[in-house]
């Protein structure tokens, strides 16, 4: 049994298909350079055709965004410098085309790896991808083993690239297991979108598993079982059956409308942490995006994301959701979630320190770049901007002032931006809940972040096992605060949502409806469970 990271839930049982990507390339000295160049040119033409096909299938499977990468691949295949360098090597060193391609793509990839900008660094992988494609064609090997699958199987690979997930036949791939990757990697998100179980970060599964082995993939627990006993198989078959039935059952509830005690329809929205997840959200019938976390743009990087990079991400989600509200939370980082390139001081009490809106007000250039991107993207949909961790009126006013300042700057530069957007705050500090009557006059909506609200109100670190028993969402103090916030908001004519874990707690649903909550935002797979548990009919 192998243990990895459960990146996409569900159970898969099937035959392993091990994908070996890097072809061994040997250096061979040749005499007829002209013939070798003709071979190369033929291979390049074939590669172009493959990529054109990929572009089409990926547009169908994942959308425009997924297809963009292949546009770049095509340009590399037509690049005078790249192709020129390969030909020159053949001509001057009398080596075979395969080896010349390998040398050249390694060389070019190295140039990009050495650059200090993340965007350019990542292009190295594209170049190697292209190089491998040409080499495999030259070797007469089927390049895209994943796309050439004819029977259903579990894919086992070192790493699964976006171009591979794009081209695989979704109906034949039962599951995916890879040496590399984690919960937030591109393939994990796609696997969840396609609802294919995936276990990643397995380290050496490609060495342990052979083609034809029977595998069980447990995406919930991050396990891979190799050639299991009949008994184990039947246990998992049952589990699989159960999951399938549940899924089918749940879909019946897609159109259920939940009403609160005031008789108003409660919006059931989705929390997402990456643009691609919007597709999952839509699939489960999300009526809006109640929380779009923007940290993914900033994490695992060596420098700040540019305005345009952010703009593209926001625009993607806004366009997909059309006229439905997309609430994008400004950067919520600091304290325990650090960014190496920010050089933040180590703090004694990170949860009471420079984090979220406090950090943004402290580092205005970062904040303003994000707000610029948000306002520009606002033109493409129904935008809500949400500030996290507000604890005083002054803080909120200052954040709003900066937002106005950014508007004026965009206006002065003649850049188009949205003037029709909503502004809201997270209610996650006890102080903000207590003065919610005052704060409500300043914003269009509230969203209660229960995780932090409970932690701050009850003075409990729930990660600390010695005190976590005190972490109680049903504590009267918490319920009173929530009720106060909802009442205060309604008095000022604004609506209140909830995006913390409590929103997804089916046991709390009735209480929240009783309080008059207007929106619940949960992880996409929870949407249907929530609708089902409401007991309300469509």
């Amino acid at each position: 049994m192998l243990r990895g990271i459960g990146a996409s839930s569900g159970v898969a049982i099937g035959i392993a298909r091990v994908i070996k990507k890097t072809s061994e390339v040997e250096k061979v000295l040749i005499k007829d350079t002209q013939k070798e160049i003709e071979r190369l040119e033929k291979a390049i033409e074939l590669a172009k055709k493959e990529i054109e096909d990929l572009k089409v299938s990926s547009k169908e499977n994942i959308g425009e965004k997924g297809a963009e990468i292949f546009e770049a691949h095509l340009m590399i295949l037509e690049d005078v410098e790249f192709i020129g360098a390969i030909k020159e090597k053949i001509n001057t060193e009398f080596i075979n085309a395969e080896y010349a391609v390998k040398l050249t793509s390694d060389e070019f990839a190295q140039i990009f790896i050495n650059m200090d900008n993340d965007y350019f660094k990542e292009r190295a992988a594209d170049i190697k991808d292209i190089g491998n494609r040409i080499i495999n064609i030259l070797l007469g090997k089927n390049n895209n083993s994943i796309s050439s699958i004819k029977e259903s199987c579990i894919i086992v690979a070192h790493d699964i690239t976006p171009s591979e997930t794009a081209q695989m036949n979704k109906d034949l791939v039962l599951g995916m297991a890879a040496n590399l990757g984690g919960k937030t990697s591109h393939v994990a998100i796609l696997a969840r979108t396609l609802e294919i179980p995936a276990v990643l970060g397995l380290g050496n599964i490609t060495e342990v598993v052979k083609d034809g082995d029977l595998l069980i993939l447990d995406g919930d627990n991050g396990l891979v079982l190799i050639n299991p006993s009949q008994e184990t198989i039947s246990v998992y078959k049952e589990k699989q059956e159960k999951i399938l039935l549940e899924k089918r059952e749940l879909l019946k509830y897609k159109d259920v409308e939940i009403k609160n005690k005031l008789g108003r329809k409660v919006e059931i929205a989705a929390n997402i942490g990456n643009p691609f997840e919007v597709d999952i959200a839509l699939k489960y019938g999300a009526e809006g995006i109640g929380l779009f976390r923007t940290e993914f743009l900033y994490m695992d990087k060596t420098s700040m994301p540019t305005e345009n990079e952010q703009f593209e991400a926001y625009k993607y989600v806004l366009e997909k959701m059309k006229d439905r509200l997309v609430i994008i939370r400004t950067l919520d980082i600091g304290g325990d979630k650090n960014l190496p390139y920010l050089n933040l001081e180590k703090e004694m009490n990170p949860f009471l320190g420079l984090r979220a809106i406090r950090l943004c007000l402290n580092k205005r250039d970062i904040f303003k770049t994000q707000l610029r991107a948000l306002l520009r993207a606002g033109l493409y949909g129904n935008l809500g901007i949400m500030f996290p961790m507000i604890s005083s009126l002054e803080e909120l006013k200052e954040a709003k002032n900066i937002l106005k300042e950014v508007e004026r700057e965009l206006e002065a530069e003649g850049v188009e931006y949205s003037k029709d957007y909503k502004v809201g705050i997270m209610i996650e500090t006890p102080s903000s809940a207590i003065i919610s009557d005052i704060l409500a006059k300043e914003v269009d909506f509230f969203s209660i972040g229960t995780n932090d609200l409970i932690q701050y109100t009850l003075a409990v670190d729930r990660m600390n096992q010695n005190v976590s028993y005190l972490y109680n969402p049903n504590h009267p103090a918490i319920l009173r605060l929530i009720k106060t916030v909802i009442d205060n908001a309604h008095k000022e004519g604004i609506w209140v949502g909830m995006c913390g874990e409590m929103a997804a707690d089916v046991n709390m649903l009735n209480t929240l409806l009783e309080f008059g909550i207007d929106e619940l935002s949960v992880s996409p797979p929870m949407i249907l469970k929530l609708k089902k548990s409401s007991g309300q009919a469509s």
Partner: protein
């Protein structure tokens, strides 16, 4: 041979999309065209070359063209880079 100095005004620099615009345009001309950064020449007709230059916001680069349509080439590339904005 003609040349012109120009500053990159796009926040994102010359990455894939602007670079591909530039390269497509450069390929319309017969002249040899290169971009120069820190005295190093990069082929303006090659996406790999232009991107490997790694030009970012605020960089000053030189466009150099030589050939029968060098003036048109220079002007057209200049206006493309000038128009780059996020």
């Amino acid at each position: 041979m003609v040349e012109a100095k120009i500053k990159i005004n796009s926040q994102t620099g010359l990455h894939a999309r602007p670079a591909s615009l530039l390269v497509k345009e450069a390929n319309k001309f017969k002249s040899n065209i290169c971009l120069v950064k820190h005295d190093k020449e990069y082929n303006a007709k090659s996406i790999m070359s232009v991107m490997s230059m790694g030009a970012t916001f605020g960089d000053e680069i030189i466009i150099r063209a030589s050939g029968e349509d060098e003036n048109e080439a220079l002007n057209s590339l200049k206006s493309i880079i000038e128009a780059l904005k996020d």
